[in-house]
Symmetry: C2
Subunit: 139 residues, 2 copies
């Protein structure tokens, strides 16, 4: 279990905002949401985000400049992290660790590159949006 009780006030606020969000939030979206709770400046959010990423409680979706709470139960132990992002609804699904790593290990060994982390962002259209688009087109 993660020791969430050690988090500071701002860190708790930020991680809770992300957990209760539908999808990824930008730093400034988080700021707006937390203004009523006394968070006033971008830096307060960014500092909390940095620490939370260090603790592997959240992730940054690089291609969106946005942040998500990790949904996988033992995510803080992951070395491999990926997302599937729907270009239509901006929804994000986490990719299980096993979809990626294997081949990379070989490549890393061959080239002498030592991995510390990975960002995998798959773009596409999710099932729901695809079905909606099909429904609109058919009639």
């Amino acid at each position: 279990m993660v020791e969430t009780h050690k988090l500071t006030k701002n860190q708790k606020l930020v991680v809770e905002a992300l957990k209760s969000a539908e999808g990824p939030l930008s730093a400034y979206a988080i700021l707006e949401e937390l203004r009523p709770h006394g968070v006033k400046a971008p830096l307060q959010v960014y500092r909390a985000l940095d620490k939370l990423m260090e603790l592997k409680l959240i992730h940054k979706v690089e291609s969106m400049s946005a942040y998500v709470a990790c949904v996988q139960p033992d995510c803080h132990t992951h070395k491999t992290v990926g997302f599937a992002i729907c270009s239509s609804c901006n929804g994000v699904q986490e990719l299980p660790e096993n979809v990626v790593s294997l081949h990379l290990d070989n490549w890393a060994q061959e080239t002498g590159f030592v991995r510390s982390g990975i960002a995998l962002e798959v773009r596409g259209t999710c099932k729901t949006c695809r079905e909606n688009e099909a429904a609109e087109a058919c009639c």
Copy 2:
């Protein structure tokens, strides 16, 4: 062969700047480099970048907000693209297509997610930097 002769003036300038660069360049770094050639505004660069990405002649390294010319000979046919980024020197190596795709296909089929593109950014330390660090530490 790619039809580079169809590129507009700004597009040619931008792609050439990226090709002759050591590593990834930010949009504003490109702008500074091209000022002597009459490029004056960020939008001129961003528009060229957009088109070049559409043509698959260059790629964006999301986690650096920077852009690189594709080095793989048939890169414009790739659906899968990845980079290994050294956290020490910021150098970027392109990952061959075959290191990633397999497992993703299964996952995509299971979840009904239709892929259109992929951004894979592996963080770590490259061989050269690792050796340099080792040399510094040993004595």
